[in-house]
Symmetry: none
């Protein structure tokens, strides 16, 4: 069974608001094996809305309309759905009773305009809304379902989960969808795909999508089956092959961020970390400390933007900075070793580089970053030249620092990028 | 001129990702008087995509396709747009040259699959992509425009702003939408609306919307006119009144972030800053250093998660931490004064608190944060109890620290929240 979602409301076509209800609904539908194949956002405009509903009803077995069920003039969903289905509307007395009771319990009188919310499309059944005045509607014919749901998330979510999903289970053919995301770093999208595509293209199920985020490549695997076991079998099979092929680049298969993975590894090893960062300006520390409980393995760090901070707080010799330059392999190493020594931790990470847009030279261009890891047995340094703007360079540098530590903790050294 | 946006990619139909590109594009289009009337999200599925493009091209003068221009097999947008338009594709040699050069500059070889990105629809012109390998395409016939743009926001945004908007200005009928955002902090949404609503409800044009972000309240003003002057007049009139009423809470009316505003003020005053942060874990330093050129006024900071870091790196007396507790007004003050003294800067900010989820007690609950500002004439401390989760508490604490400094720099002391 394939679903389409139509979110209705002019505010969803401004720069300030986006539809988030569909994410919740998609998660719920996937659980029972229903895929969302299209989402549409339409303003409070009669003709466009009728057309969109007609088209969706023609091509999809499940059509979910969200929003536009309020009491005001620009709430058009009931009328437009009726028009698209070629049906009439009638007033439902029991809904009026419910709405009146709701107002009464708050010491208010029902306004005349709320009568609109008691209009029901012929042949539809009502989906009760315990958290608001607008009830939902459920229309079912020839194995197809259309539902109209109110827009406020706390009304919609409760109604969908407790009333719509149980009804859909009875209508939809038994099936399940399971997903997995392989998160990688230290490899480009094209290099990852050159390794992965020969494997995943052999499978029609799971469906595989490759995506990039800042400093990260993700393989999204989505598997279908008549039940959970049948959906999981091909997912595990494909995932195992991809994990073997992409091994050390994969840092997570169960959703954790890189900083969570590194935190768990540090905790497992009973190890502690301190950082000294220049161009990343606190981003590395901020990511590490975004994980609850990080105080058990993270000592802290120094953001040494000014060179005197490198000297006073981390003990990098002034002469070294003068002779090699603040952005150099030697200073990165001295930052990592200096902070490790001062903090008395197992590991120290040092980062120095040029995030731009200013400050680059021909010899040391914007994007040049040195990332050092100090371990009990000494320090090693990576040189990277990141493309992109300030934000990207900083993100990639912090990512590389975390990955260098991850590799050390799992016993796989970092290497020049493929 | 009415626009439709189609965002392409199966990941946008999962519960994990939503389309945010269209928000940026909508803001840009509104600037030049173009309204967005529909948004559609389609997966990487050939037939549905061709149908969606055909339909949009039939009914709207401007069709914007986002995503699916990557080098891999599931990047279908070029092919499907060509099919919908009934046109062919050809290879563009100059694009191959650009992509090859891009890989070469990073010391890499262009992968075979990147050749797909050099395919151009017959009759289309190329929209250059200085930040990535996938160029965009621009198709214009009979006063209608279709454009294909890559999905990564940092590529798309730069291309749209610098290349598409100037071209659209020539095609679109003259009309103008002008917007202004008044960004505030240190006030709740309801308190801000109580002050602002009696003013903005007197205006049908501009339209005013109140929105909240992390630690921030925004008033969005949107004004319509036949040309820029006609759109700007009511915008200026309303904005001036709101600025008078909300005065010191407003930190920006022209888009700058709080860290940019603070950076500019520091530069104007010839002042410098250093920070010592505990519960914010580097977030404050990271925000300050996200601004290009911040090295001219930011010395750096210490992320003193461990108490020994507070003592060794900032000089907070061990006895003070033991007698008052790490989360106390006195320690916040000692952090701010200590880092200011060590760094030799004009200002020092110190933050200590409990970000949770663990670590709270009845006396010092999760959300309790002390924020101190050390100035040449002494230090003062604010005590805040922030609601929300770890991320919210950390954001609000960093925001409060920045706003405390902003208030000091403009000569308006921070005060207990209204």
């Amino acid at each position: 069974m394939e679903a389409e979602i139509i979110a209705i409301g002019s505010e969803l076509l401004t720069p300030y608001r986006s539809d988030t209800n569909s994410l919740f609904i998609t998660a719920q539908l996937n659980e029972i094996g229903i895929d969302v194949v299209s989402k549409t956002i339409i303003g409070d405009e009669r003709e466009r809305l009728i057309n969109a509903i007609s088209l969706a009803w023609e091509r999809s077995a499940l059509v979910i309309l969200i929003g536009g069920l309020g009491p005001t003039e620009d709430d058009l969903t009931r009328d437009c759905a009726a028009a698209a289905l070629g049906r009439s509307l009638h007033i439902d007395q029991s809904i009026i009773g419910t709405i009146e009771a709701r107002f009464r319990s708050r010491g208010l009188r029902m306004a005349e305009i709320n009568l609109r919310q008691a209009m029901v499309i012929d042949g539809a059944s009502v989906i009760e809304n315990p958290r608001g005045t607008a009830p939902g509607l459920w229309i079912q014919t020839d194995g197809k379902v259309m539902m109209l749901l109110p827009g406020p998330p706390r009304e919609l979510c409760a109604m969908f989960e407790t009333q719509c999903i149980p009804r859909l289970r009875e209508v939809a053919p038994r099936s399940a969808i399971r997903t997995r995301v392989l998160r990688m770093t230290g490899i480009t999208e094209s290099a990852a795909d050159e390794i992965a595509a020969p494997i995943y293209t052999r499978y029609a199920n799971p469906v595989t999508t490759i995506l990039t985020a800042l400093g990260e490549i993700q393989l999204h695997l989505k598997s279908f089956g008549r039940d959970e076991a049948e959906a999981l079998a091909p997912l595990h099979e494909l995932s195992a092959q991809l994990e073997t092929a992409l091994g050390k680049y994969i840092f997570s298969t169960t959703g954790e961020s890189l900083e969570e993975v590194v935190g768990n590894l540090l905790r497992e090893h009973g190890a502690a970390l301190a950082v000294a960062e220049s161009c990343t300006g606190g981003l590395l520390a901020q990511r590490i400390t975004s994980v609850p409980g990080s105080s058990s393995y993270f000592w802290g760090g120094v953001v040494c933007y000014d060179n005197t901070a490198k000297t006073h707080c981390v003990g990098v010799p002034k002469e070294l900075i003068e002779s090699r330059g603040a952005v150099s392999s030697e200073v990165a190493s001295a930052l990592a070793e200096g902070i490790r020594r001062r903090a008395g931790t197992t590991f120290g990470i040092g980062i120095t580089g040029i995030a731009g847009p200013g400050g680059g030279t021909a010899e040391k261009p914007v994007g040049l970053v040195y990332i050092a890891l100090a371990e009990p047995h000494g320090a090693h340094v990576l040189e990277r030249r990141f493309p992109g703007d300030r934000e990207v360079i900083r993100s990639q540098a912090a990512q590389a620092g975390l990955d260098m530590l991850r590799r050390a903790l799992i016993g796989s050294k970092s290497e020049p990028r493929p």
